[in-house]
Structure formats: C-alpha cells, structure tokens
C-alpha cells in the first residue's frame, strides 16, 4: 500500500522549540506572586511520625505555610500517598513548606522538629518471605502489588531449607498459571536447565525532574506538570487534588523524559496545587535530582528461578518460571506477569508454568519502565537460549528462529493470539545486515588481553490498545486541526499518529495543525503515552475521527451538489464527484457549510459512546468548523505485539573486565512505518538504554540502615556518550499489522530488551558462554569469570555493587 504521508519523514512541529530553548517545561512557567515549596522527606526507610513541631519553621521570616499529611487528599492503600506520617522508604515526602524563596523554605524545613519512631524495614524481598523476616508495611502485609489483595505471605522454613545453596527457594506463590503438560515436556527434553537469577532495579532517570507548578484562578486549578501523557493524567490528578476533572486545567506540552515513570498522574503533583490553594498564591515545587531518586520511580527488580527443557532440535518443550518481584513500598507494577507473557510469546514453549509474588520493600515506588518485565526477562532468557544452542550445536540465531512466534501464535495464560509477528523476518534481516555468520566465526578470537564476543537478543511488548476517542476539526479556512490527548514523551508520535487523520483526508501536512499539550485546547480522551501503544491506539482514534469527518464532508457535498455521498472523493483540498470532478467544493467551503448546518456536522450533536472528556471538548469546539469525532470501535484481533531483534559484537578486556561495543544493530517489527526518522530515534534510544541496563544501572540499598546508595547520576549510572558506540544501527521490518487501519503498531519498548540481551549474550560469548544470570553485568563480575574466581556475590543477593 502506498501512502501520501505514512512512511515519509517530516519535521515534527515541536522540534524547533526544543533546539532553540523556547520549549517550556513545567519549571519554565511563572505567575504573578509565585512562591516556592520544598518537601521534608523521610530519613528512615520505615517509621511512624510521633510528633511534628513546625512552630520554629513558621516563625522564620519569609515562610508562608506548611502542608501536613492530614491536609492532603487521602489515597487508597496500597497506592503511594501524597504526604504521609508513616513513611515506608527513605525520601518519602512527609510534609511541605512554602516560602517566598526556596532557600527560606529549606531553612524552615531544617527548623522542623520531627519525632520519628523507627519501624522494622526490609530491602530484600526474600527476607520478607522468610518466616522470621520483617514486612515493609506496619500492618504486617508484605504482598499486594499489581492489584492483588493486601496479604501476608510467608514461605516455610522447610521451603528455605529445601533449596540447594544458591538456588531460589520456591514456597507458596501469590499467583500462578500454566498450560500444557510441563512435567512431560521436561521428561522429553534432551537438555534441561535450572537457574536462579537476579535483575537489578534501576531508576528512570528522566532528565527533567518531576517539578510541578500550580495556581488557582477563577475556581480552576492550573497545573503545569511533567508527564508523558496529557488527557490520561487529568482524572487521576483531579482526584489527587480533590476536584472534578473539569475543574483542572492541565498543561504538559513538553515532558523531559518519562520512560514509564510519568505515564499517569503521580502524588507529588498535588503538593503545589494543594499548597497554592491553602496560600492563595502560585506555588512552584522544584524537585531535585536526589528527590527524583526518591519519588521518581524505578523499575521492579526480580529474583527468580527458571527451568527450561529443549528437544534435540532446539525446540523449547517446557518452561517453568518463578518470579519474586521487588515492588518497592507501594503498588509497583505488573512486571512479574509481563515477564511470563514475554517468555510465552517469544519462545512459544509447548508447555509452561509460571508463578509469581510481588513483595513490598522499604524502597522507592516502582512503576512501569520501558518494557516492564519483558525487558528484564529478556536479559535472563536470551543467554539461556545461547546455552541451549551451544549444547545442542545449533546456531544461536537459528535456535531463536525455531522457537519464534508467527502471526496468530499464542501469548500468555489465556492463549490470546498475536495480531502480527514478523520476529523471524527481523532475525533474518538483522543477521544478514549484521553479517552474523562471518562475525560469529570470530567469536572467541583473542588479541592480547581482549576477546571478541558476538550476541543476538530479542524482546517483546504489547503494542496497542483500543476503545479511545478521536477528534478532528476542519476550520472554515480549510485547515485540519487534529486534537490529540497523547503526551509528548519525545517519540513525536503525537504528530506521527496525527498524520493518520491527514492521510485519510489526503491533506498536505502544511495544512494540518496538531492541537495538544494543554487541556484548554479541547482534547479527546486518549490513553497515556506509554506501553508502546500510541502508534496503534491513536492511529485508530485518529482514523475513526477522520473517517467520521470524511463521511460528513461527503454528506454535505451530496446535499449541496446532488447525488449520493458515496459518489464523492477527496484530494486534500477539494471534495468532488467521481463522475464529474468539476462538481465539487473546497474543504474550506465544506467546513463553512458544516458551521451553518450545525447539528452533527459542527459538534452540536455528538455520538453517545464517547468519553465525557471528549464530549466536553467537542462541545467547546462546536460551531467552529466541521467536527469529526468518534470512539474507536474497530474490530480487535487479539494481542497487538511488537518485537525486536538486536545483534552486538563486543570486545571484552580480560585484564580490566571492561568491554567495548564494536557494533550494534537493532531491528524492529513495528508494523507499517509512520515516520522513519522517529522510528530510528526510538530504536537507537532503546539501544542506549538497553546497553545501560545490561551493564551499568542499578539501585542499591544499604541492608543495615535501608539508605539508598544511588542518589546521584554518577552512582545510578545511566549511559553517557562514552558508554555507547559513536555509531548505532537500526533497521525494521515494514510489514503491516492486520488489525490496525493502516497497519501501524508500537515499537518503543522491545528494542531496549533486545539490545540489552544482545550485549549480555555477546559478553557471555566472549567468556566462552558463561551465563551470569544477573543484571547489570559489572566489570568485577567479568573479571572474576576471566580469573576463574567465584563471584563476589551469592546468586540471589540483591543490592550488590
């Protein structure tokens, strides 16, 4: 299929502001009378506030007020509270102080007398599962993340004693599923492996801290926030503030990075809003880098056990996985489940069992991070595929090909089918471009202290949702306004998916305006910009809205010019009769007629099934042009799936433990390509983050005091220019997804796990196939293998440096 706009590069409208510094992020806004607030955060991993004395703080000149836990909107357990008098991690906000300037606010905080009763705490989930182990919560519950009921779940002493040293005990799980005959699968297997593993938690490190600015005007609360979503934030943030969604004006035109941590409203956003209401002054709350490590979320860590059985032909016959998830102090995310889905779909085991427990720890709030669960598990599973390939003497790309899903293959416990999978194409295309067969022949070559290793890695993520709304408008000047409620995460998909609407109406891009980033722009209800979904979900919403506009244009043309609506076609500026192209009218004229006709044509009559937010937006726009508005009720074909396959060559120095990536290529299975340059940036950015989680990033907590050891970028170690090759490579399989109107689907997340696992497999290859069963792979781990020394940590130890 040939498209006018899809598959073409374009300059997204927000790039100019980004390179000139005129792009305004939350902390760049000002208002008359603006004051500052600062948070007082917990110095202990778990404590109860016995007393707070703020008198000296309030007496300090310049101090305007405090906000206490009792004054904020209560949040339902086990969600993170806005402020709390029972902090459950170091850095949990207890109260906030506002002053005429930030220095005064901080001075005031230093004058506050806080009487804290220390409570037991835990930073290792396995400790909390031990019968004598502490619970992260004062109510004694240690399990409950991911929507599970709050509960105390302990393994028995026998469970712990039964496990061999270094292998993960497997007591009662909180959740499990299986399909097929797992035991029979292992019995039939030629090789069976049983491994215990650890994947470290890591921060999102969004470069823009989650600073928020808020003020009240004419009964409405105005919030400038840093979120990767726009419309999706509004209901949750309104609830945090304690107002109705239509009483909130939310502005997030730019967001300095989110990676899953700013997908929905988060509690600290309410602090300046509530403080502003209390003081009747605009309040800026700047969040520091250290505070970002407290309240800025992190990826869930895993401790786990995986048993895999392969037939002699390399087919994965059985898989049995158990994941203990470190969920942080609050609800965390569903990584532990996603990891199981990823295993089930990427390798299509004939039989599989999964068990999981999300365990609370006294560490910061976890949330989704780019490929939550899918990408951690890729780092563990891909090296194990390599081990099977070596033992069975099968090429490492080939064993992945043997097990890869195809369109219609099943995923997860309920055996949904994937709407499309071209992972095999990505494997083959990548292997050819990477010159796999030649490079793999150099595997293990040694020059001085350096050894060459090559690796291949893969990952998966769901790539779309459905059921949201689209809203477009043709104004009487003939321009197309695409109103989009997606955020600005930096993927440019706000505009990429807007081009779907332009494509339907055959518009030139110069005549299109993307309306976004501010609820005053009358935006539709869209899901957040997360989960690799935008290029599918909002392709559908923009498609149905544009189709609605097109139908209305045809009706107007038929009404004014005669004939049937179906007789008409469009060319981007005119609608005309197919039989006589001279019989037609311009888009501008149609829009002017729509305004005159009113009713459904210009937004006075709306579909019944649209969301109240879309209804309010369309109503506000009524009479301003031809309105196309619809809910996405297009057919759903199963689980929309995106895949990526990456290839890496590394050089490992056996004397220093360091490695250098010689070459890396990331190939995405992403459906129809909307925007090649945007896609390239996603594949390459994910490659950098993949390298980062594979070899650099971690959170680390002192087990004695529960203190974080990663409150600076240099400690938590996101990749810099010097950690990645000066040149990265990206490619894609440009094959449409059949359930997306124009074949598009998401791709943001899988290339991260693919790159991470490719690098791990390459390092492993350089070390003769040593499987680490741990991320990140640090230089000391490499050195110990090179020197044939035992590792410095036990296999299930967390918080290792």
């Amino acid at each position: 299929m040939t498209y006018k706009l899809l598959g073409q590069d374009f300059t997204p409208p927000d790039v100019l502001a980004k390179v000139t510094g005129t792009a305004k992020y939350a902390e760049d806004f000002r208002a008359e009378g603006m004051v500052f607030c600062r948070m007082l955060t917990s110095p202990m991993p778990h404590a109860r506030v016995r007393a707070i004395d703020v008198s000296a703080a309030l007496a300090l000149p310049g101090v305007l007020g405090v906000l206490l836990p009792s004054e904020v909107t209560p949040v339902q357990e086990p969600n993170p509270p806005i402020l709390t008098d029972e902090p459950q991690f170091v850095g949990a906000p207890i109260l906030a102080v506002a002053a005429v300037d930030e220095t005064t606010a901080q001075d005031a905080i230093d004058l506050i007398k806080l009487d804290l009763e220390p409570l037991p705490f835990v930073v290792d989930p396995l400790h909390s599962l031990h019968p004598d182990g502490p619970a992260a919560r004062a109510d004694g519950n240690n399990v409950g993340a991911g929507g599970l009921k709050l509960q105390s779940l302990k393994w028995t002493r026998e469970d712990f004693e039964r496990a061999q040293p270094g292998t993960m005990p497997m007591g009662k799980s909180a959740e499990d599923w299986s399909y097929g005959d797992v035991d029979a699968g292992f019995a039939q297997s030629k090789v069976v492996y049983d491994d215990s593993f650890v994947t470290a938690s890591n921060s999102h490190h969004s470069l823009e801290p989650r600073s928020t600015f808020a003020y009240w005007q004419n009964g409405k609360c105005f919030v400038h926030g840093s979120t990767q979503s726009q419309s999706f934030v509004v209901p949750g943030l309104a609830q945090y503030i304690g107002i109705k969604p239509d009483e909130l004006v939310y502005i997030s035109e730019f967001c300095g990075g989110g990676f899953g941590s700013k997908g929905a409203a988060f509690p600290s956003m309410a602090i300046p809003a509530l403080m502003a209401r209390k003081l009747n002054r605009p309040v800026m709350m700047r969040v520091s880098r250290a505070e970002e490590y407290y309240i800025g979320h992190a990826r869930n860590g895993f401790q786990g056990r995986i048993k895999l059985g392969f037939g002699a032909d390399g087919r994965l016959l059985a898989a049995d996985m158990y994941i203990v998830q470190e969920s942080g102090a609050y609800n965390g995310f569903i990584d532990f489940r996603n990891a199981a889905d990823a295993l089930s779909v990427v390798y299509q085991p004939l039989a599989m069992r999964w068990r999981g427990i999300p365990v609370y720890t006294n560490t910061p709030t976890r949330s989704a991070q780019r490929g939550p669960g899918e990408n951690q598990i890729a780092c563990i599973l891909e090296p194990l595929m390599d081990r099977a390939a070596r033992d069975l003497k099968i090429d490492r790309v080939q064993i992945r090909n043997i097990n890869a899903p195809q369109t219609g293959s099943k995923v997860g416990s309920n055996r949904r089918n994937v709407t499309s999978s071209y992972l095999r194409d990505a494997q083959q295309q990548g292997a050819t471009r990477f010159n796999w067969s030649e490079r793999v022949s150099r595997s293990g070559e040694r020059r001085g202290s350096k050894v060459t290793g090559v690796g291949v890695g893969q990952a998966y993520h769901p790539a779309g949702f459905n059921g949201f709304d689209g809203l477009v408008r043709i104004t009487p000047d003939g321009k197309l306004h695409i109103h989009t409620g997606v955020g600005n995460l930096g993927t440019f998909s706000h505009s990429g998916t807007a081009r779907i609407a332009a494509e339907v109406l055959q518009y030139d891009w110069e005549n299109c305006i993307v309306e976004r980033g501010d609820s005053r722009k009358h935006l539709p209800w869209n899901i957040g910009q997360f989960g690799s979904n935008t290029s599918f979900t909002m392709a559908r919403t923009n498609y149905v809205a544009a189709m609605d506009a097109l139908a209305k244009m045809k009706e107007i043309a038929a009404r004014d010019l005669g004939g049937h609506a179906d007789d008409y076609a469009v060319d981007g500026t005119r609608i005309f009769a197919r039989s006589n192209t001279h019989r037609g009218m311009t888009y501008a004229a149609v829009a002017q007629r729509a305004v005159k006709l009113a009713g459904k044509y210009s937004g006075y009559e709306l579909p019944k099934d649209i969301n109240p937010m879309t209804r309010a937006s369309a109503t506000a726009l009524a009479g301003s042009g031809l309105i196309g508005v619809a809910k996405d009720t297009l057919p759903v074909g199963g689980e929309t799936a995106a895949f990526a396959c990456a290839f890496a060559e590394v050089e490992v120095d056996l004397e220093t433990g360091q490695h250098r990536i010689i070459e890396i290529l990331n190939v995405g299975d992403c459906g129809t390509v909307i925007h090649p340059m945007g896609l390239t940036t996603q594949l390459k950015g994910a490659t950098v983050q993949g390298i980062s989680i594979a070899t650099l990033e971690h959170l680390i907590f002192d087990p004695q005091n529960g203190l974080p050891g990663h409150v600076g970028l240099y400690q938590a170690r996101p990749a810099t220019y010097l950690d990645v090759p000066a040149q990265l490579n990206a490619d894609w399989v440009n094959k449409p997804d059949p359930t997306s109107p124009m074949g598009t689907k998401g791709i943001g997340e899988p290339p991260l796990g693919a790159a991470a696992s490719a690098v791990i497999c390459a390092i492993s290859d350089a070390l003769g196939g040593h499987v680490f069963n741990r991320t990140p792979i640090k230089t000391d781990m490499v050195l110990n293998v090179a020197m044939k020394r035992p590792a410095a940590h036990s296999p299930l130890q967390v918080n290792t440096d």
Binding site: D9, T11, P12, D14, V15, L16, K18, V19, T20, G21, T22, A23, K24, Y25, E27, D28, E32, G33, M34, V35, P61, G62, V100, D101, E102, T103, H205, L207, E208, P209, F254, C255, G256, G257, M284, R286, S288, R289, G490, T491, F492, M677, G678, T680, T681, K684, G685, V688, Q689, G712, L713, Y714, P718, T720, Y721, L722, V724, A726, Q727, L728
Partner: protein
Amino acid sequence: MGDGASGLNLGQEAEAVRVSRREFIKRVIASGAVASAATYVYGGLSGCAKQGGSVAGGVERLISLNVNGQVRRVDVLPQETLAMTLRYKLGLTGTKLGCDRGECGACTVMLNDITHNSCSVLTHSVRDRMVTTVEGVGGPNGELHPVQQAFIDELSPQCGFCTPGQVVSAVALLKRNPHPTRDECRAAMAGNLCRCGAYDNYLNGVMRAAGTGAA
C-alpha cells in the same frame, strides 16, 4: 512585580540593601563600568566576598552581566548560581536544570566560549565574562545556528530537555574545532547526558553542522 516576580529575592534583604544599591547605581552611572566596580567589591573571580568578613546583606548585589551580547543588570545573591540567575532573573529558561550538581550538562552555557555547567558557577564569578546561552547562539535576527538546524534535520532531540545543553556544547566545540571527527565530537559532548539515548542523532547533527559528512 519587580524583584518579587523572580521568586528568589528576599523582600527583607532587598530592603536592607536598598540604600547601598542606590549608591551603587550612582557609581555605575558615574563610572560607566559595572565590572570594574564589582571587581573592586569582590576582588576577583572566586565569587566569594574577599576580605573583612563581608556578609550576605553587606555585599553589592546589583551587577551587570554580559549575556548573549547584551549587558543585563541583575540583582544577584552571593550564593546564587548562574543557572538560577539566567532562569529566574533574566527569563532565559532555555538553560535547563537536570541535576543542579554538575552531572548532567543540561545547564551548559559558554563563558568566553568555554562550556561550563551553569548550575555550578556562581553568578558573581562571571561578571567579567561573556555568557552565551542557547538563546544566544543563533543570529541577531533569530536565525538558527547551523548546529540547531542540523539537530532539526537529524531529528536529534527526543524529549528535548537536554537539547539546549547539547546545542551549546556543540557550538562551543565547532568554535574551537570546526572540523572534528566523530570521536572528537563524542569526547566534547561527553558531559551532556541524554537519557533518551539520542547520542547517535546528536553526533549526526554535529557532524552535519561541521560539514564533514554524516549528512
């Protein structure tokens, strides 16, 4: 709302220095040179009051800065960083604060064409230097600097938060080395963190701007 609009100034301290400020302005007008007077007060580039136990309220605060080719008068606290002065006193919010501790490079500005993390420079220390921010790298009539144009052409930014710092670092590099190799670019830009991982695209942009290929 004057000083209050900055949100950083202390009403009471402003009162305390009002008289001396007036005297100071008189002297500025008389001498036509803020820098020399300020140098007298501070005695060097350290940014700290030099002798005799000067305290916060006791030092001159109204100083002139050369920012993007313009002399800007600004009231600066002794402990104030250049990033805060630019962002909260001069309205130049293109300079971003990603860490406020010299780790990320989002606040990169040029001082006499040399890059610095403006979060870690005291404003009082730069009175005799030319400050160039992202707002000042383009032409006098709003023309984009070739680096900015190249970053657009290569779709270098993703979230955009680190971009101003990347722009300034690249401009500074090309000033001292108009034809860098890709590895030289990488070394020069290494202080600018990009969590989106757009390093490759930024390097493409710098190479394009340098006209040495990759375009």
